[in-house]
Amino acid sequence: MSILAYNGGAVVAMKGQDCVAIATDKRYGIQAQTVSTNFPKVFQMGPSLFVGLPGLATDTQTVFQRLKFRMNLYELKENRMMKPKTFSAMLSNLLYERRFGPYFIEPVIAGLDPYTNEPYVCNMDLIGCPNEPEDFVVSGTCSEQLYGMCEALWEPNLKPDELFETISQALVNAADRDAISGWGAVVYIVEKDKITEKHVKTRMD
């Protein structure tokens, strides 16, 4: 059984018009048994920067702590906010440092550039190879289902409300077809001047 499928989980992020959205499921389980239904895998790293860390739960927590440490140090030293692209490079480096004993997570980054407000999404494999597409990124145990849903539903230049609908439907329907993802979802819509957090219901099983 794959280590990346030990705890289960799913994260998806999409670009919209002057906004990004990122969504995660809330299940924490140990193989078939569900332990908690309140374990979101997306963390806010800055005023408009979010990172999703699906995969092995212990590494989700460890990498979040290490990332927070490095980001805080950067922002203290440089005295400015970190750009999403730079954050992506930092996370890639963090993961590649462990090339031959990696952290078992496949992260997703979503944010707006703090100075130009340009939307940015990125995902990586467990050793930090970045992928910065123009549309959406997916990760987790139901990534195949997510790819299908996103490809079907996404279109460019969606407004924040439309983007919310699109990303919610993508995650909910993909997670409903995966036994080890789901038990509720959290969706964040990141715009220039506000962040909306919404909890969405999936199949609770």
């Binding site: 092995l56 739960a57 460890t62 702590q65």
Partner: protein, 175 residues
């Protein structure tokens, strides 16, 4: 070998750790955590609250996990502090830690979680909680292939750690 082993360790005045795993690891790890928490309180003049103590425990477990000789322990951490009240955290042997209203580890735990899920309410009294645990133990005695005769019970509250009567085979006589 022994039916009266106390696996609920008092880690600090308001923190209890229930440990499941190798005996050596249990002793070593629980003492390591409790002595370090004591050291913090001696150095700084105040005790770490539950959340911080659990975070410390998790970080140490996660660091040792990738160092070639990890502790193979499943933990339940129960603590009380003024700010958050009573809290329960579960940590598995990989150092994934979650806060939960109720939790269980092991084969007996697999049976117990469904019972706990059904009977749990957020504002249970100590007596009601004890009765629910007794229900879990009853089921474990009936259905589990291993013989686990005695279950020690402790509570942690603003008055500190208190030991409740052990649940054993005799608790169910006449039922």
């Amino acid at each position: 070998m022994k039916v009266y082993e106390d696996k609920l360790m008092k880690i600090s005045d308001n923190l209890l750790m229930g440990v499941n795993g190798d005996t050596g690891d249990i002793a070593q790890f629980s003492q390591f955590i409790s002595k370090n928490l004591k050291l913090y309180s001696v150095r700084n003049g105040y005790q770490l609250d539950t959340k911080a103590a659990v975070h410390f425990t998790r970080t140490n477990m996660a660091d040792i996990l990738r160092k070639g000789n990890p502790y193979v322990l499943n933990l339940l951490l129960a603590g009380y502090d003024e700010k958050e009240g009573g809290q329960l955290y579960t940590m598995d042997f990989l150092a994934s830690c979650v806060r939960l209203p109720f939790a269980a580890h092991g084969f007996g735990g697999l049976m117990s979680v469904s019972i706990l899920n059904h009977y749990y309410k957020p504002n249970l009294t100590e007596v009601e909680a004890y009765e629910i645990i007794k229900l879990c133990v009853k089921e474990i005695h009936r259905r589990l292939f291993m013989n686990l005769p005695n279950f020690g019970v402790k509570t942690v509250s603003k008055d500190g750690v208190k030991t409740l009567p052990t649940i054993s085979q005799a608790s169910f006589v006449g039922k």
